[in-house]
């Protein structure tokens, strides 16, 4: 009998703890609630800074963009979320498309964020710029051999290219903008050329692809610059070098991480104020430097290490087109067996 009693007590205790925790969580209704797909260690410093400045407190969860959007959608009007922060314009476009965000008219935001880095309908604003460009082995490749993303499809790169998987949204966005720029058939030719040039099965992340270049498995790869920055920080005398792609044509492909106020936000004004603050130089430099990205606000200079990579011209296509063409890009990559 004792065992049963222990068991029942345990279950009762569990339930009590559970409900009291959720009741506790439910009580503080004046806090700003954030759903963030940007990782906790990259976003929390900004929450802390804002709390210090204004006293506004935060509650947040972090997850991948897909589950967060599904949760927003399922919660509907009852959602506690005020702000959705996510990486990648494709996700922002999708959130907006599903009606999860509300339009914000703000002169501060419009002044601080260039027009190609925000939603034409003002439902979301890019907050940091992530440039995706070429990284090559400085000891085996001459800089003048490189020119553009498309060029890597040429026969001279046979067996010398490493790529990250096409399942990563960064590559989907890159190909989507190529579709927008050069049309689907031409883009498909390029991606087919990439696949034919691969030196190794595609990698699960940018860092692994760069390490393969460094180790001599291949000569060049396409990565987001902050991954290169991290690798450089860890290993300052690496043989890897950064090359700004497409400087004579479309410019370097850029993506954003950004945020929008949710449609059913309980504190829309406070959320908008926070979003505006995020676009100011004070927050922008933290936002970008935390992860060695570029600030969306052009007035903010990058950190020293990032500045050393030199200036580049970025693709000024509105980043939301990557979202619109994402499905087209994935289908294209599937057809030519870019896994």
């Amino acid at each position: 009998m004792n065992r049963i009693k222990t068991f029942v007590t345990a279950i009762a205790a569990t339930a009590t703890v559970g409900f009291s925790v959720s009741a506790l969580a439910a009580e503080k209704s004046d806090e700003l609630v954030v759903y963030s797909a940007r990782k906790e260690h990259l976003i929390k410093p900004l929450f802390d800074l804002y709390t210090q400045k204004t006293g506004t407190k935060f509650r947040y969860i972090t997850d991948k963009p897909g589950p967060l959007m599904a949760r927003l959608e399922a919660e509907g009007k009852a959602s506690p979320a005020d702000l959705l922060i996510t990486v990648d314009a494709g996700n922002l476009w999708q959130a907006s498309n599903k009606g999860l965000l509300q339009a914000i008219e703000s002169n501060t935001l419009k002044a601080n964020i260039p027009s190609h880095l925000r939603d034409p309908n003002n439902t979301w604003y890019g907050l940091s710029v992530r440039a995706r460009t070429l990284v090559y082995a400085g000891d085996r490749v001459k800089e003048k051999e490189l020119s553009s993303y498309e060029d890597l499809a040429g026969p001279e790169w046979k067996g010398r290219l490493c790529l990250r998987t096409s399942k990563k949204v960064y590559n989907q966005s890159l190909v989507a903008t190529m579709v927008e720029r050069m049309g689907e058939p031409k883009a498909e030719e390029v991606v087919k050329g990439w696949v034919a040039n691969l030196a190794a099965p595609v990698f699960s992340n940018d860092t692994k692809a760069m390490k393969a270049v460094a180790a001599g498995q291949c000569d060049v790869t396409i990565v987001n610059t902050y991954y290169f920055g991290r690798l450089q920080k860890k290993n300052p005398d690496t043989n890897l070098k950064l090359f700004w792609a497409n400087q004579d044509s479309s410019g370097v492909h850029v993506n954003v991480s950004g945020a929008g106020v949710t449609r059913h936000a309980k504190h829309p004004e406070a959320a908008q104020k926070f979003l505006e603050w995020l676009s100011t130089p004070e927050a922008q430099s933290v936002f970008a430097d935390e992860n060695m990205e570029y600030a969306a606000n052009p007035a903010v200079k990058p950190s020293q290490q990032v500045a050393d990579w030199g200036n580049f011209r970025q693709d000024d296509l509105n980043v939301s087109s990557a979202g619109q063409l994402q499905a087209t890009a994935i289908k294209l990559m599937d057809r030519v067996r870019y896994n």
């Binding site: 279950i11 439910a26 906790e40 949760r71 099965p201 699960s204 393969a212 994935i330």
Partner: protein, 586 residues
């Protein structure tokens, strides 16, 4: 009892027992009591005794069905996705993806299935019945990989053995060997999954070999069989239910896996699910694909039951203190060598690598929040284990005490959640709970004048229920097999001695299943500690666990920083694993 051994059910009786009222119709009838043979159950008995009988009978079926309902909720969310088919996505997947992905998935299942069987059974046989140098600690050490999350082993090994990793780099520099086979391949991913999942087979098979006794094996030897023949024709068939239970757990884990295969970039059926969801932004197509996966699992579960079929070996409860076969000479060293290599590969090498990484980042990564992460992880593990195993106990007892189609159904459905990819199941649970929130709780709250909010989604109870749905199979297995080892004659004897009803459960069933229950608690706990996707989506605001931290780091490609939470998770997971080992020793 009717001829099939099921309690009599009639509409009248159901009405009677559910409502506790005596209809004019029922009052004229009598039934035989299925519990106490010979005594008659008379509906005209006073209500007091009637309610006792209700407590005795219906709660099992009612509780079992309620548990099944909780499990069915997210599954039906997935089924509902079929109300409309996104044709273009399906067409695209069929044309370019599904053939290859199904092929890959079947290859993976076959490879892992064969691998865990061979490795698990051979290790179990060696450590359970033979004596060789180091056997005493090797048999315990072989449990350790239980604590290792599959995705962690995957990123450690890809880091070590890839072209740019230290092993191949050294080979290139010292010996100039350049053309080694690519580690990120079908063979590599199978090897990693086998190393992580063999303990399920090892643990269950080992117990089976320890408890089956030497007599039959010796009889076969006396009749002229070689040790190997005797093993194949006698010991193996007797351990078959246990082995198959272990293999099916491993296969379900394999089907659900997304972390490991994505480290290898090995595309399986789950890849198509996530491609539809994250790539095409089509949760509906993803849910539909998930139901197909579910169908496959249902077939597997059904197949396993069929295959087990009539083959039941009611094993004696006595722990045999069998003398072990003393291996000698080269044989004994081969045996120790084999076990040592497995322990090295599955545990020592990855832990050493993790430690090396963890030490290199300890000053930037270790902060005060780790206490919170550890306590959250442990708290969730313990609470989820209690709830899940509580539910599993109810399912197993209901099936045993009141075997009818409802309790059988509940038990089968209850275990389906284990094979679904975590995120898909999590989103199913999340949507299901949000229906309850919006359909029931919010209207109720506003009627009571409270502010509408999500009560369930993002609450701790919801997260715990999600764990229950996901890990029921893990908790149910040991409890059920413990119950199955109870010979029918024992409760019969108890009944003939006048012990029935609640006291039968308390005095006969519970003591017998107590060891299985403890094993189940520990297994579920280990799994919950490692669980990531459901925790991410359903946790209360601000809750972080070690697994979530590992994800935050690996998603950014920061393997070294992920090593610290991984090591701490391993150490935390060792607590229940060591308890499991000690139990296995008894």
């Amino acid at each position: 009892m009717n001829p099939k051994g099921r309690p009599w059910i009639t509409p009248c009786r159901v009405a009677h027992c559910l409502c506790g009222i005596t209809t004019p119709h029922s009052s004229r009838l009598t039934w035989r009591n299925p519990w106490a043979a010979g005594r008659m159950f008379n509906c005209q008995q006073p209500l007091v005794s009637l309610s006792q009988r209700v407590l005795m009978h219906k709660p099992w079926r009612f509780s079992a069905l309620s548990i099944a309902a909780v499990v069915i909720l997210p599954l039906s969310v997935l089924l509902f996705s079929w109300y409309e088919v996104p044709v273009d996505i399906w067409q695209h997947l069929l044309e370019t993806q599904l053939g290859r992905l199904v092929g890959n998935t079947l290859t993976l299942l076959t490879g892992v299935g064969v691998g865990v069987t061979v490795l698990g059974v051979s290790l179990a046989w060696l450590t359970a019945t033979c004596e060789f140098p180091g056997r005493n600690w090797l048999d315990k050490a072989l449990f350790l990989p239980f604590a290792m999350p599959a995705y962690v082993l995957a990123f450690v090994y890809v880091g070590l053995l890839d072209f740019s990793g230290p092993v191949q780099t050294a080979l290139r520099q010292w010996f100039g060997i350049r053309s080694l086979p690519e580690f990120r391949s079908t063979g590599g991913v199978i090897a990693v999954l086998v190393l992580v999942f063999y303990p399920y087979v090892y643990m269950l098979a080992r117990t089976a070999f320890r408890t089956q006794g030497r007599q039959l094996f010796d009889a076969a030897r006396i009749l002229g069989r070689s040790p190997l023949q005797a093993f194949i024709s006698v010991a193996l068939p007797m351990a078959k239910p246990a082995i198959m239970a272990g293999v099916s757990l491993a296969l379900m884990e394999t089907l659900a896996d997304f972390g490991t295969v994505s480290v290898f970039n090995y595309d399986t059926f789950t890849t198509a699910i996530y491609k539809s969801w994250y790539g095409f932004f089509n949760l509906q197509a993803a849910a539909q694909l998930a139901t197909l996966l579910l169908l496959l699992v249902a077939l597997m579960v059904f197949g396993e039951r069929k295959a087990r079929g009539s083959a039941r070996f009611t094993q004696s409860q006595i722990r045999h203190n069998n003398p072990r076969f003393q291996l000698a000479g080269i044989q004994s060293w081969l045996a120790s060598g084999f076990c040592t290599v497995v322990v090295l590969l599955a545990f020592v090498v990855p832990v050493a690598q993790l430690l090396q990484w963890a030490v290199s980042v300890v000053d930037i990564e270790l902060d005060a929040r780790y206490w919170e992460r550890i306590t959250n992880t442990l708290l969730l593990g313990v609470m989820a284990a209690v709830i899940t195993v509580g539910a599993a106990l109810i399912l197993a007892l209901a099936k045993r005490l009141q075997p009818d189609r409802w309790t059988n159904f509940s038990a089968s459905v209850g275990t389906l959640g284990y094979a679904l990819p975590g995120s898909v199941l999590a989103v199913g649970i999340m949507i299901g709970f949000s229906w309850i929130d919006k359909g029931v709780l919010i209207p109720l709250a506003s009627w009571l004048g409270m502010e509408p909010q999500m009560w369930l989604v993002g609450s701790l109870p919801a997260l715990l229920l999600a764990y229950m749905v996901r890990f029921m199979a893990v908790g149910y297995g040991p409890v059920d097999s413990a119950l199955q080892r109870l010979k029918p004659s024992i409760p019969e004897a108890a009944r003939s001695l006048g012990v029935g009803g609640k006291s039968l459960v308390r005095r006969v069933y519970l003591p017998v299943i107590a060891p299985g229950t403890l094993t189940a608690l520990l297994l579920v706990m280990v799994d919950v500690l490692k669980e990531m996707p459901a925790t991410m989506l359903l946790r209360p605001f601000g809750w972080e666990t070690l697994a979530v931290r590992i994800y935050q780091m690996t998603a950014e490609g920061e393997w070294e920083r992920a090593a610290l939470p991984a090591v701490i998770l391993l150490l935390t997971g060792m607590i229940p694993v060591i308890m499991l080992m000690r139990r296995a020793e008894k």
